[in-house]
């Protein structure tokens, strides 16, 4: 079955699922135009990659698309951070030297990064025991949900509950 899908198989899957993918991306991004862009990108990846047979072609397509959405989100967030750093520098800008300001914007960003790490780390350290262990195993050590469940001797839905607690904690730590 899955082994029979060549690169052609993927093209077929793409053709078959293009409309659904577009609908998903429109819902995911809130913009039909952006969805179109990303579908094109997915297509280019498939063409350029010459990817071999894939177990679950449809999931593969959606996952590529989902990653592209995340890339865009992150790029947008970075731009916003950058703009913020620049604006802050502009306030007390005595130097009109772009390069100097750029360097200082970098320093500012590095500072923000360090603060973010500190906030995350202390939030993790203060998590309830079960949530902390599940979080550590999954997000830091890279174990899958199933492996975390096995390691902690709990169910997969138990892992999900712990992770939800952890994520909510961390969200609060970053927004407070």
């Amino acid at each position: 079955m899955a082994d029979m899908q060549g690169p052609q198989g993927l093209e077929q899957i793409y053709t078959e699922h293009r409309a659904g993918l577009l609908r998903f991306l429109t819902a995911r991004t809130g913009s039909a135009a952006e969805a179109e862009d990303i579908v094109q990108e997915v297509w280019l990846r498939l063409r350029g990659g010459g990817i071999g047979p894939v177990d679950n072609g449809r999931a593969y397509l959606y996952r590529i698309a989902q990653n592209l959405v995340l890339d865009r989100l992150r790029a947008r967030r970075r731009r916003e951070q950058r703009d913020r750093a620049w604006t802050q520098l502009e306030m007390g800008a005595s130097d009109h030297d772009e390069e100097a300001r750029d360097t200082r914007a970098n320093a500012q960003e590095a500072l923000e990064e360090r603060e973010e790490v500190a906030r995350l780390t202390s939030a993790i350290a203060n998590l309830p025991e079960g949530a902390r262990r599940a979080f550590q195993l999954h997000k830091i050590d890279g174990l899958s949900h199933g492996e975390v469940a096995e390691r902690l001797g709990i169910s997969r839905s138990g892992v999900e509950k712990h992770m939800a607690v952890a994520m909510k904690y961390l969200r609060r730590a970053l927004t407070d």
Binding site: F24, G50, N67, E113, V117, G146, A164
Partner: protein, 210 residues
């Protein structure tokens, strides 16, 4: 006035918390290979607030991933030094009863030479854990060979099979060549399995039974 504003605010908070919870649940399930993409689409379509909540979860998750190594170093500096973490045997070891010889290898980018290359080889019955400088981790299956090249360690060549837990860096995507195919970094966790001239890529986590 106060009595009307108070509960109103409270209600808003509860609503958005409920949506955030739903977003977390969708995000969590996304690791599964049989993730319900249609259900997810319908949920997103139901309310624009769903999309924004999911964005928030995805970005939070990405920020954690970005800082994984730093967090790890701060949280467990001694554990790191004394007992290097070894991934549990993955599925190619699960049923075979092979006495796995585990080795931990740390790949560091070489400062000299413009094209650093690292080779990792496993013999039959042996697996190898490979940690790249960016925090990506690879579990090399028995009887496999992985060559890691490029200044950013993002150019790989694989003979045999491996499980990849790759740090997603959009600016330096990973390329893996295997059996005449090129596989681009498709995000996070996936397997590449080669046997008898076929290459299979299994996206997302492998559900190991038992």
């Amino acid at each position: 006035m106060w009595s009307r504003q108070g509960p109103g605010l409270q209600w808003c908070r509860t609503m958005s918390d409920a949506i955030f919870d739903q977003a977390l649940a969708w995000h969590h399930k996304q690791e599964d290979d049989d993730f319900d993409w249609d259900g997810f689409t319908v949920w997103l379509e139901a309310d624009p607030a769903h999309r924004l909540a999911f964005d928030e979860v995805a970005l939070l998750d990405a920020r954690i991933d970005d800082h994984r190594d730093q967090i790890d170093a701060i949280l467990s500096p001694t554990a790191q030094a004394h007992q290097p973490y070894v991934r549990p045997a993955r599925k190619w070891l699960a049923g075979g009863g092979i006495a796995a010889a585990l080795a931990l290898a740390i790949g560091l980018p070489m400062l000299s030479g413009k094209d650093p290359v690292q080779d990792y080889r496993t013999a039959a019955g042996q697996t190898q854990q490979i940690a790249l400088a960016d925090g990506s981790r690879i579990a090399l299956a028995p009887f496999s060979h992985l060559r890691v090249a490029g200044e950013d360690q993002n150019d790989m060549q694989l003979e045999g099979s491996a499980y990849f837990d790759i740090r997603h860096r959009p600016e330096r995507p990973m390329t893996i060549r295997a059996g005449g195919q090129q596989i681009y970094d498709i995000g996070t966790r996936f397997d590449i399995l080669q046997s008898a001239g076929t290459v299979r890529v299994a996206v997302a986590e492998v559900s190991c039974a038992g």
